[in-house]
């Protein structure tokens, strides 16, 4: 049959549209990726921080293996700088799903001398060696991460299956070409693969999916009143990690968190969005990227994210 004939047959067979929405297509792709990992790796683990992206990833894992339980543990790289609402959420979700939770504690690593506290007290950068030590200890060979390519331009060049050498390093100039849906997860002992099932999702896709699936989130993602201080145009919650300096005024503002990271570095945004629908409207209208709006850690330099990724960060 010539290809023109083939095309005609396909068209004729389509009395029905067989339409697939963009969210269904993204979900199908993510589920496929998770199943590939389960089929081809020995010790996968899912990085679960209690942030919205990892929550969506966990939902996709439920979908991929139903009616069986999620067949791998989850790991939290715990900086010790947490929002209590997020820790509660983490523990509730883990219990509901009957999951095994591995905690890689940055505080313990500091106490044991594996890493040293930075002079500014931030712990984003020092979580990388803690993560790598846990990978080595538990011999994880595949690590699911919730990073998305739309987040940041170094991440825009990341593969779905990202090879890491025995030091956990990313070499952006030496990535494996990724064709069709054929993912190459081959690696030698000690090496590992970071897997990003949400690569093709945007922040808005994630929120649309949260709405569609009625996924519960930690309350701090929705608008609430909170005591904050303003630093460099960003609003930081006053808590044990953020202590107002001289000249800073503490004020109560209506805010929500667009991202949830290290509590000492993650800022809130001014917002009245207290429902998922309002958040979607807000995200659709915003003119600032979520990292640009909320992460002090990405503002260090033009290549801050790339440098951290090379060291083994997500």
């Amino acid at each position: 049959m010539s290809s023109a004939d083939t095309r005609k047959v396909w068209k004729m067979s389509q009395t029905k549209p067989y339409r697939v929405s963009h969210l269904d297509a993204l979900e199908a792709e993510s589920v496929f990726v998770m199943r590939e990992v389960m089929a081809e790796f020995e010790r996968p683990v899912l990085l679960f921080s209690g942030g919205k992206d990892s929550i969506v990833m966990l939902r996709l894992a439920e979908k991929a293996f139903a009616p069986a339980r999620i067949p791998f543990p989850v790991m939290h790289v715990d900086t010790g700088h947490n929002f209590p609402e997020v820790l509660d959420y983490r523990d509730t979700r883990v219990a509901e799903l009957g999951l095994n939770l591995v905690i890689a504690s940055v505080q313990e690593a500091i106490d044991s001398g594996l890493v040293r506290e930075l002079p500014d007290g931030t712990r984003n950068r020092i979580q990388t060696p803690v993560l790598l030590a846990a990978v080595e200890k538990y011999r994880f060979d595949a690590l699911f991460g919730g990073a998305r390519r739309d987040e940041e331009k170094a991440r825009a060049k990341e593969r779905m299956f990202s090879f890491r050498d025995e030091f956990g390093q990313w070499d952006p100039k030496n990535q494996r070409p990724e064709l069709w849906s054929l993912y190459n997860g081959r690696h030698h002992p000690g090496e590992s693969i970071r897997v990003f099932p949400l690569s093709n999702w945007t922040e808005l896709d994630v929120w649309h999916y949260i709405a569609k699936e009625r996924i519960a989130l930690p309350s701090i993602y929705y608008a609430h009143d909170r005591e904050v201080v303003e630093r460099a145009g960003m609003f930081y919650a006053v808590n044990e990690f953020i202590v107002p300096k001289d000249g800073e005024t503490v004020e109560t503002r209506r805010v929500r968190y667009r991202t949830v990271g290290d509590a000492s570095q993650t800022a809130a945004v001014l917002s009245d969005a207290d429902t998922v629908e309002k958040v979607i409207d807000e995200v659709a209208a915003t003119r600032i990227t979520e990292r640009g709006a909320t992460r002090g850690d990405d503002k260090v330099s033009e290549a801050a994210m790339e440098d951290r990724k090379r060291e083994g960060y997500f």
């Binding site: 396909w10 069986a68 390519r149 170094a154 069709w180 033009e302």
Partner: protein, 432 residues
């Protein structure tokens, strides 16, 4: 404006779908500007991204804001002013979400273009109206047809620099159309644009009253992609067997996978390859409950009425419509490894659908010059970015279709067994 309102009304009636497209162009033909323009016009460009780019551009002394910096994410790229790797960008309109695989025009062009095109519904090629078609335009068109990208758009850019001369546009369009015809190229659309000034991008421009076709964005939003999927040949590569080990669910055995082509329904007679055993579909499950039918690209779990031995790498199809069960395969291969060429007699790991095997290169029939399409039958090997027709023999049978009929069951990758690198991409011509 009224058109936009109409479209969003229409959009509420149907969900957004997804279109993946690859962009290719030569150096300086305005590809980055075009992508920047698409993102800007669809409000997908964020002010902090733009500010960062403006700051870097100003610091480098660029005369205007260099939108290429938006996509050049790596330090080496910014330092050297080149794009190294495929970058993925996202934007959406009320009708569609778009994923752009932006492939660099110069370095590693073939490897990157092939990678980007492998998943694309549409390829967008740019030419500079002042220069007309160049060698790379033809090469990109050829790669698009080799990868069977169903839709091709040629943007004749920088029309402002030729005074919107209709004759210039038509000469390029005619030349490209006749070249594309030789390639058995898919659906072709040619659009005159100015990416810098935004003409014919988001809406039709008054500067080209003689042009009666759609604006680029209108075309991207409306090009019909649903029937590009093969809904005839049932192909369901088994990815993973789901067997819950819990007391809540007993005796469950489901075959998880993503539908490669065709429509599966409960009650259908099926055949499982390579065993050839037949059975019936008893149910098609998803986490949200059973479904009446499954079609591409759905990820589902299929259950059968009979207990037969099925594992990852097997394929569920129909008794009278099955792929070849083949150990001898002829394919076009694009070589992607800079460390060693493809040689006759060499062994590789082959990954095809969910099946992995070993393979040996039995012969290299010819190497294709992607610029002239000349076939060199004396070529001893395939080097980086070279394409040739190759004969392979595999250790276990592949369950394969011709790539031109099925991009999922016709495509494969080759992996170097020592380095684990992905070294080649293959498109099956014949399998037996």
């Amino acid at each position: 404006m009224s058109q936009a309102v109409l479209e969003s009304d229409e959009a509420t009636a149907r969900p957004m779908d997804l279109l993946r497209f690859a962009t290719a162009g030569s150096v300086d033909d305005g590809k980055s500007t075009l992508i920047g323009r698409l993102l800007y016009d669809t409000k997908s460009l964020f002010s902090d991204q733009l500010e960062a780019v403006e700051a870097v551009s100003a610091a480098r002394g660029d005369e205007y804001t260099n939108l290429a910096l938006l996509t050049d994410g790596l330090r080496a790229e910014r330092e050297q002013g080149i794009t190294i790797d495929v970058a993925y960008r996202y934007f959406a309109t009320p009708r569609r979400k778009f994923i752009i695989a932006d492939t660099p025009g110069h370095i590693q062009y073939t490897r990157n273009m092939v990678t980007g095109a492998s998943t694309a519904d549409l390829a967008l090629i740019l030419v500079d109206a002042r220069k007309g078609l160049v060698e790379q335009s033809r090469r990109h068109a050829f790669l698009t047809s080799l990868l069977r990208v169903p839709h091709l758009v040629l943007c004749v850019n920088k029309m402002d620099l030729v005074g919107w001369d209709r004759g210039v546009y038509e000469k390029i369009a005619d030349e490209f159309t006749s070249f594309a015809a030789k390639l058995d190229a898919p659906d072709l659309t040619v659009i005159p644009i100015s990416a810098l000034e935004g003409d014919n991008i988001a809406s039709r421009s008054e500067r080209s009253p003689w042009y009666e076709g759609p604006s680029l964005l209108h075309h991207l939003e409306h090009v019909h992609i649903a029937s590009d999927r093969n809904l005839v040949d049932v192909r369901f590569p088994v990815q993973y067997v789901i067997r819950p080990q819990s007391k809540d669910v007993t005796d469950y055995r489901g075959y998880a996978g993503q539908v490669a082509s065709g429509v599966l329904k409960p009650g259908d007679d099926v055949m499982v390859l390579p065993s050839g055993m037949t059975s019936k579909i008893s149910a098609i499950d998803t986490a949200d409950g059973p479904v009446d039918e499954a079609f591409p690209p759905m990820s589902v779990t299929v259950r059968l009425t009979d207990e037969i031995d099925i594992s990852r790498g097997d394929m569920i199809c129909r008794p009278h419509n099955a792929p070849a069960v083949a150990q001898d395969v002829e394919a076009m291969i694009c070589w992607m490894d800079e460390t060693a060429p493809l040689r006759v007699g060499a062994k590789y790991t082959i990954k095809h659908t969910t099946r992995t095997a070993r393979t040996v290169v039995r012969g290299l029939q010819y190497r294709l010059d992607v610029n002239t399409l000349h076939r060199d039958e004396d070529a001893p090997q395939l080097g980086l970015n070279e394409i040739g027709r190759v004969k392979l023999r595999t250790t276990v049978p592949l369950l394969a279709d011709e790539y031109r009929r099925n991009r999922t069951t016709g495509g494969f990758i080759l992996i170097d067994e020592a380095t684990n690198r992905t070294v080649g991409a293959g498109m099956i011509i014949e399998a037996q």
